[in-house]
Amino acid sequence: METIVSLETAAAPRRSSAVTRAATGVAAGLVSSLFLLFLLAPLVGLVSSGGVRGIAALGNDHELRGSLARTAITATIATLLGVIGATPVAYLLARKRFRGQSLLAALIDLPIVIPHPVAGIALLLVLGRGSPVGGALYTSGLRVVGSTTGIVCAMLFVSAPLYVSAAREAFVRVDPRFESVARTLGDDAWRAFRRVTLPLAARGLTAAAVVMWARAVSEFGAIVILTYNPKVVSVLSYDRFTSYGLSETLPVAAVLVLLALIPLAALRALRAGGRLASS
């Protein structure tokens, strides 16, 4: 004889009281709004008070234009160096498991955590005239302190760790099985990396580079220790503030906020494209 097994119905949903639900919703909304306000209000205020004059100033303030160009170029060089130098490290951290791996990752993150002037001082110790490396560079004609080289070094130092983290993530998202399959199909490790891993990680790596670039462009504390002149735009805006005061600094600051939208837009485009492509 077959026994009829009684099936219990699924448990009834446990609900908080309607009042609690409403209160939680309101509280969450309030907190979020305040936070967003906190983030956006200063920027909106800045742009609205200085935006128009700032963009006009771009036309005739050639010191500002020069500084912007210098900042963009040095940041780009630093980013290129970072991508070339740090991509292998990111790949290693993503794929290999080795002793001391977490220590290495922590050390790489160090420049992000230390105060910026401290980073500048650390670089001064290693790349300054008095150090072995710096001394050698100096005598061979490559001046670090007080030059664009110094700017690039400072930018690279503080922003490369961001690239390593983000690039590592990009590689982690590429299933290692793809590489295994490519290897069994005849590719050696480098070919598999070039033909499979790199194309699949490309979008993520580009986003990582944009993040690095944005960070490099906004650096002040570490750069100013190594190189005050020629001025990058962060040093220039502080200089303007000290010399002329707020009213003259606002347009510069507003322009910088507007220009910062460019890497942001690039990042959004990369992320959106990525969402469409992945399945």
Binding site: T242, Y244, G245, L246
Partner: protein, 308 residues
């Protein structure tokens, strides 16, 4: 056992609750000498001292743009008081101490063993020597360096000297203020810097004394100094202003709207006391025999030296 510690803790807490505050904006070059004076004052008077040190123009901007008012303002350049602060923020200021321009260096500097008051110009024009100076648009010591060059050209009767000295202290070796400049010298990045004597002495740097005709250190030579003038950035972008040579004097004021006026005045008295004056002199601050007061409604504590 734990009683003394607990008592001390409670006393400190009480002090902080009941104590007065004194906010002082300080020239960076005065940091080292003034710190012990501030500490003693704080302990004696049960006052909490908040010290902010930085470049001259930074302090000015904090007051005029950000409306952050100190109780005492002590700057390395008395010139800025009439320029920016009188009469809007204060009705008076006092010139307290002198300073001189020197050429500072370290034992590591190139040709450190050769340099003398007689040959400093030659050494500083050598191609392998890194010479630094402060930004003339931001720090008084910066434009005083330029004035020094002019005075030197006249004094040594060497046409073109000013330009040459300037060329050998190029833009890449400019730093925004005296403190950063000295730091770079100590780090070995620069061989020689144009600096205040007080800073050189307090940092233990070696230095070359310059002739009083050019070092802007002698108040009696004000007329001579005034023969030199340079153009620096003005108050608005694109504008320029002329600065004339003047003896270097430290200036002090208590702003009209100082938030804690009473402790500020007590500090003034303390600063003027013979013990403190002697202490400052020992710390290489060249105090004037009597402060020179400019303006109106200066407090009485300035004149009296209150010795406790």
């Amino acid at each position: 056992m734990a009683a003394p510690q607990v008592t001390r803790f409670l006393t400190t807490m009480l002090t902080h609750l009941l104590a007065d505050t004194l906010v002082i904006y300080l020239a960076a070059s005065l940091n080292k000498p003034i710190q012990p004076v501030l500490d003693t004052f704080a302990a004696r008077e049960h006052v909490i001292v908040q010290r902010e040190s930085g470049a001259t123009l930074e302090h000015i901007r904090k007051i005029t743009e950000l409306h952050r008012m100190p109780d005492v303002l002590l700057l390395a350049d008395a010139d800025v008081f009439p320029k920016y602060l009188v009469p809007g923020y204060t009705s008076w200021f006092a010139e307290l101490a002198r300073n001189r321009m020197v050429v500072a260096f370290t034992p590591r500097s190139k040709h450190a063993n050769e340099i003398t008051p007689a040959n400093w110009r030659t050494i500083l024009q050598r191609p392998d020597v890194e010479v630094g100076r402060s930004d003339p648009n931001l720090a008084p010591v910066g434009y005083r360096t330029l004035l020094l060059f002019q005075l030197a050209e006249r004094h040594y009767r060497q046409p073109g000297l000013a330009k040459s000295l300037l060329a050998h202290a190029p833009a890449r070796n400019i730093r925004p203020n005296a403190a950063e400049l000295a730091a770079l010298l100590e780090a070995g990045e620069l061989d020689y810097i144009y600096e205040y004597q007080s800073v050189a002495e307090s940092k233990g740097l070696r230095f070359i004394s310059l002739p009083p005709e050019i070092d802007l250190g002698d108040p009696s030579r004000a007329k001579e100094y005034a023969t030199a003038s340079v153009r620096i950035r003005g108050a608005t972008p694109g504008s320029e202003t002329t600065v004339t040579g003047q003896p270097i004097l430290y200036g002090l004021t208590v702003p009209t709207r100082a938030p804690h006026r009473a402790p500020a005045l007590r500090f003034l008295a303390y600063l003027g006391s013979p013990a403190v004056r002697a202490q400052l002199r020992a710390a290489h601050v060249d105090m004037l025999a009597h402060p020179i007061v400019v303006g109106t409604n200066a407090p009485a504590e300035l004149a009296r030296g209150n010795d406790r």
